[in-house]
């Protein structure tokens, strides 16, 4: 029996890449392949789904086996995979530009640089590079990958089994009674996600348009130094009562935040795809985003894409989206159509096609 095993630096069942890896495993098994997940870091909730990467046998795996490396940062796992005799594939999620992290978390910047090095060095050793966006595919090409394909992140946008958290929804509803729009941004709180720019825009928006506007920054801390700065920045601007940093939340609570949001504001400097933007569109939240890296491709005209992110421009864009009902309806409709492009069903079909074609080229049964 043929096998494609996945390797990741960290397997966190709740993050986008961890979820993607689980869906990929399901797809591969559905194609009649053996498939397991191996990782270096495996936080507790993921331990029944993944194995420590060093437990992968020292000898070449029996039968026809390929190793699929989920590349998103620098890791010892990449060097382990490179040293293996089995043919390899890379699934590329992009690597944050090191300079965006360097002032805040130098060790993360080192990992990012290491990731870029591994990306380049693996180019000649990999049979196929699968990118989650055209933007990422261009980076693979630039790094020297000859055979590439695009297949979006596998994510269950419908979250059919998850209802909104009634407690969180009730709290958000109470906030709404005081009036004012609810801004939402969902992501790890990290320098390249630029939550501080969203805070700046909120400050301008409250001053000019809506003194009761609130901002919910949902996501786990990706940088302790940045989170600490952000909290102090919010306090210094007198926005303590208007900005909430929720930290990591459950899927149910996340749904509550999406349901309560009037607008999703993403001002990231670096995104390889940006799943939360698609989630927002799927849940009928209009998107205002800064046109950086892969965001123009992900948004694809279904949101307001800004070329500048100075506070006044963002504030004006949000005010427009909040008050112009026909525009809002158009954005919601366009968002739903765009989100449908990334439904789990479609993305799974695309991923399956890519892998099936690859296996056929390799002469696998």
């Amino acid at each position: 029996m043929s096998a494609i095993h996945q390797f990741l630096p960290t397997f966190a069942a709740r993050d986008a890449i961890g979820n993607h890896a689980l869906h990929v495993r399901q797809v591969l098994r559905g194609m009649g392949l053996e498939s397991e997940i191996y990782a270096e870091g495996i936080p507790r909730p993921g331990r029944r789904d993944a194995h420590p990467y060093r437990s992968f046998g020292r000898k070449p795996a029996p039968g026809r086996t390929w190793l699929l490396y989920q590349l998103s940062t620098g890791s010892a796992v990449a060097d382990f995979v490179r040293a293996r005799p089995e043919p390899k594939l890379v699934n590329y999620h992009n690597i944050t530009t090191a300079s965006l992290f360097a002032p805040w978390e130098p060790h993360v910047a080192v990992e990012c640089r290491e990731g870029r090095r591994q990306l380049r060095e693996m180019a000649g050793e990999v049979e196929l590079g699968v990118a989650v966006s055209v933007f990422n595919e261009a980076e693979l090409r630039e790094a020297g990958y000859r055979d590439t394909a695009v297949a979006p992140v596998l994510v269950d946008l419908d979250g059919a089994d998850v209802d909104a958290d009634p407690e969180v929804s009730a709290r958000l509803e109470r906030g709404k009674r005081a009036g004012g729009t609810d801004w939402l941004f969902v992501s790890r709180v990290a320098p390249h996600k630029c939550q501080h720019d969203v805070v700046r825009a909120l400050a301008a928006h409250r001053r000019l348009y809506d003194p009761h506007a609130r901002l919910h920054l949902v996501g786990a801390a990706g940088s302790g130094a940045y989170v600490s700065m952000l909290e102090r920045y919010v306090a210094a601007l007198g926005l303590g009562g208007a900005v909430t940093l929720t930290g990591s939340v459950s899927a149910a609570a996340l749904k509550s935040y999406y349901r309560a949001a009037d607008v999703f504001v993403c001002l990231s400097e670096h995104e390889g795809f940006c799943v939360p933007v698609v989630e927002a569109m799927r849940l009928s939240v209009p998107v205002v985003a800064f046109a950086s890296t892969a965001l123009p491709e992900t948004v694809a005209g279904a949101g307001v894409l800004l070329e500048a992110k100075d506070p006044l421009t963002v504030a004006a864009a949000v005010a427009r989206v909040s008050t112009d009902d026909p525009l809002r309806a158009q954005l919601v409709a366009a968002g739903l159509r765009r989100a449908a492009d990334f439904s789990l069903e479609r993305s799974t079909r695309r991923f399956t096609e890519v892998i099936a074609r690859f296996l056929a080229d390799q002469g696998a049964p």
């Binding site: 700065m229 920045y233 070329e307 158009q330």
Partner: protein, 340 residues
């Protein structure tokens, strides 16, 4: 209601709203600056730019070593264990912290002293970026003269337009009136027309502080006539980074030959910098992925040139014209560079 969103029009309307709000003064002119300063207070030293005093101040703040590590934890037992460990080793942590703190204070003090020496040196030999030519009324600040050229050059530009060394902001006001989201920067604080945003800042300092691709267009004047060649070369590189794709750089400058003619030999020889020729700007900007052309040249007024005797021999008249060309090259020029 149509299903298709006219994004171009929507962004233009948002831009227009931003301009209207800026002109109305609803948002204080220094609002964004205040946000920047608040950010700089808390961001790591590498993320706050190159301001020497701000960086040293941060180093001084960081010299304080807090020996009381946080002990909070979601799990009560872990918090308790942390408190016990902290109590057990605090004497050692204090001992080490005293030495680290003493070293840091000594270093930051040394840097402060060094900074003062550099300040003293700069009093004697000012660095190019701080030089301000006497009599700032150069041709480049004459909004009436240069306005039409600049407005024509900026046609189709979107995003913010910066005019460096904008003086009293007359050209900025003219650009804003023509529908551009324009603001100015000038090292000398002076009253600007109502609703015109002018920041007190050196051209290079201001440009360096902007994110890459932040500008739709950049109009350079004033500084381009008094900075040395090295600083102007740097200016071209920075312009290349800060102007977005599809953007425009306009250089308004005196011609070096005309500039020299208007000064005493001593002033001209001892000036720290001098303007470049239009061709040199074109060369510098083309190296930064621009396509440049000389858009306008202003000649020396007729009254200041050699006049041919009425009815003179055509050969004599031609020689006069040639002499005028050699003796009185254009007084000033505009180079327009579009991003390729």
């Amino acid at each position: 209601m149509t299903d298709v969103i006219d994004h171009r029009r929507l962004l233009e309307e948002i831009d227009a709203e931003v301009r209207r709000r800026r002109e109305s003064g609803d948002l204080p002119a220094d609002f964004e600056r205040e946000l920047d300063l608040a950010f700089a207070r808390f961001a790591p030293v590498h993320a706050i730019g190159d301001d020497f005093d701000q960086v040293v101040e941060r180093a001084e703040q960081s010299a304080f070593v807090d020996v009381l590590a946080p002990t909070q934890s979601a799990q009560p037992l872990v918090g308790h264990v942390k408190r016990i460990i902290r109590k057990a080793i605090i004497w050692e942590v204090r001992y080490v912290a005293q030495q680290v703190g003493g070293f840091s204070v000594a270093i930051t003090r040394a840097v402060r002293l060094l900074g003062r020496r550099v300040d003293a040196l700069e009093e004697v030999a000012p660095p190019p970026a701080r030089l301000r030519a006497a009599g700032a009324t150069t041709a480049s600040l004459d909004a009436g003269r240069w306005g039409p050229t600049v407005v024509a050059a900026l046609e189709g530009v979107t995003g913010r337009v910066l005019h460096t060394e904008c003086g009293d902001g007359a050209l900025v006001a003219l650009l804003a009136g023509a529908g551009f989201d324009a603001y100015g920067a000038d090292p000398v604080e002076q009253a600007a027309p109502a609703g015109v945003e002018v920041r007190t800042d050196e051209a290079l300092d201001h440009l360096n502080a902007l994110p890459d691709g932040a500008l739709g267009a950049l109009v350079l004047s004033g500084c381009v006539e008094r900075l040395p060649a090295g600083a102007l070369t740097r200016m071209a590189v920075v312009a290349g980074a800060k102007v977005a794709e599809g953007g425009v750089v306009v250089v308004l400058s005196a011609d070096p030959r005309g500039w020299e003619r208007g000064r005493s030999p001593v002033d001209a020889d001892l000036a720290s910098g001098r303007p470049l020729r239009a061709e040199t700007w074109a060369h510098l900007l083309d190296a930064q992925q621009f396509r440049s052309e000389v858009a306008a040249e202003f000649a020396v007024p007729d009254g200041e040139t050699l006049q041919a005797v009425p009815g003179a021999d055509p050969v004599l008249a031609a020689n006069f014209a040639l002499l005028n060309q050699l003796l009185f090259p254009p007084a000033s020029y505009a180079v327009v560079a579009s991003r390729r």
